[in-house]
Symmetry: C2
Subunit: 282 residues, 2 copies
């Protein structure tokens, strides 16, 4: 995989990186212009160059998400999501008669009603509740792609191996686009998640700027797909990553992403710090 | 919006268009090389140039999907999917106690069990069943993005207005990525659906070649988002389309897509013909 500036070096219109980079640098010897809000410590780095402490913090989420030992609470939430996945898998395009549809609707409505009046965690306020000991399920359990507790997620699994992000996903019947194949939109969604994890290997993750997916072959349903993500380059606050999706040995799609590293104190950074603290307290 | 060949004019590696275009053309005067499998009638055309009969066939799906009058069967399937959507919306990151989770899991498992032993439609074999009078729910009801009968779909609505594709979607809590925002992967997925509908306006739709999404601003949850898709150009079998996503007046993301028109007789064409026939028989 090579980096192609024509397709990836293309920042969003409102690129805060430009403003940030025009600030005076404190690296210049003999010049002290006061404490800058942005220092080179927080710029993305290539593999092996990032500050180990910071890298450890921003990649903790990936390691935690791939852990297999679940607390009873997380197992219970996963159990409910798994039951919902089975339901969705079976109800889509079913030929069951009308009375079966009606009875199932009553069951599912009753289940939904049970949650009426309870609160939900959102990313804001979620970690506070965890830190106060009121909840132990981490944020990523609820992701619409990797969340074991979110029925929308297949869920994908994701981990880092020797500086490469490896992910797997098996999309069932409900994700069908072309006959027997994963809907192209969900292939793109999976890449967004994989490349989002990949850019964190720079030590200074941020938000997606652009995502380009190239569909090489149909991506089959009901098969364990394998995704790879690699950090390809950094340039000031831009992070360039690439990914690939395989079904067996067949390359079905590739992707390129440009991410814009966020300033310390912006919400992704706050969340990473809080999640790391939450992990440490277990 | 302008077409940028550097980012969109980039066919998949195995591009069948090249092989097709090397076949002798019957347009050459005085030369008859027999019946070609590929004629200019099936090449994509710009708005206003496509054969009306063919355009009517390949866009029937869009008109049918935006119809508001549902048969009792389709309403029942939508009702079950809506109950499932409510369940998913409420269970994600809930703080309900363990006994509520357990009771809901029993409800949902019972609902899933009701479908055991029944068959599901897939794109293969689906239209045959419809044509034989065994089912009346059209394919698009089960799409993971626009399907009213698929709990994975928000669902999006989609329609054509004066040669422009207009779509809406409201993503709930379960689709959260950044705090309060739609996961970037689902923004990309929505664009794939919108641009897929847009390319059919060429009269000769095909498969996604590349999809590029550019994230301009955060895309909010719980808001009716508005998508637009426009046919920007055709070049042999390639179709160039562009899209935009708005929250109110704010442009949150843009997208470009390149699609490769498929040969008549390939599965998308067969499906379009069958769906059109199915519609006519109602």
């Amino acid at each position: 995989m090579t980096r192609d500036p024509e397709t990836t070096d293309d920042p969003p219109a409102a690129d805060p990186a430009d403003a940030a980079d025009q600030r005076p640098s404190t690296d210049k010897p003999g010049v002290d212009l006061g404490a800058p809000r942005w220092t080179t410590d927080y710029l993305p780095k290539m593999t092996g160059d990032a500050d180990p402490v910071r890298l450890n913090m921003v990649t903790k989420r990936i390691r935690a998400a791939s852990a297999s030992d679940l607390s009873p609470r997380r197992s219970a939430l996963k159990g409910l999501a798994d039951a919902s996945r089975l339901l969705i898998d079976r109800l889509v395009a079913t030929d069951a008669p009308d009375d079966v549809i009606a009875a199932a609707t009553v069951d599912v409505s009753a289940a939904a009603e049970r949650f009426s009046g309870y609160h939900q965690g959102t990313l804001y306020g979620f970690s506070e509740a965890a830190n106060a000991g009121r909840r132990e399920d981490p944020l990523f359990d609820h992701s619409p792609l990797i969340g074991i507790g979110n029925p929308l997620a297949p869920p994908m699994t994701i981990r880092e191996v020797d500086g490469v992000i490896e992910a797997t996903a098996c999309f069932g019947q409900a994700y069908e686009g072309p006959p027997g194949c994963v809907h192209g939109g969900y292939v793109a969604a999976a890449f967004d998640e994989v490349l989002g994890a990949t850019q964190s290997l720079s030590g200074a993750p941020g938000m997606t700027g652009t995502l380009t997916v190239r569909y090489e072959k149909p991506t089959p349903l009901q098969v364990e797909l394998r995704f790879e993500g690699r950090l390809m380059g950094v340039e000031r606050r831009k992070i360039f990553v690439e990914g690939a999706c395989y079904s067996g040995d067949t390359l079905t799609a590739t992707a390129k992403g440009t991410f814009i590293s966020m300033q310390p104190g912006q919400f992704l950074d706050i969340l990473a710090e809080r999640e790391a603290r939450q992990e440490d307290q277990r």
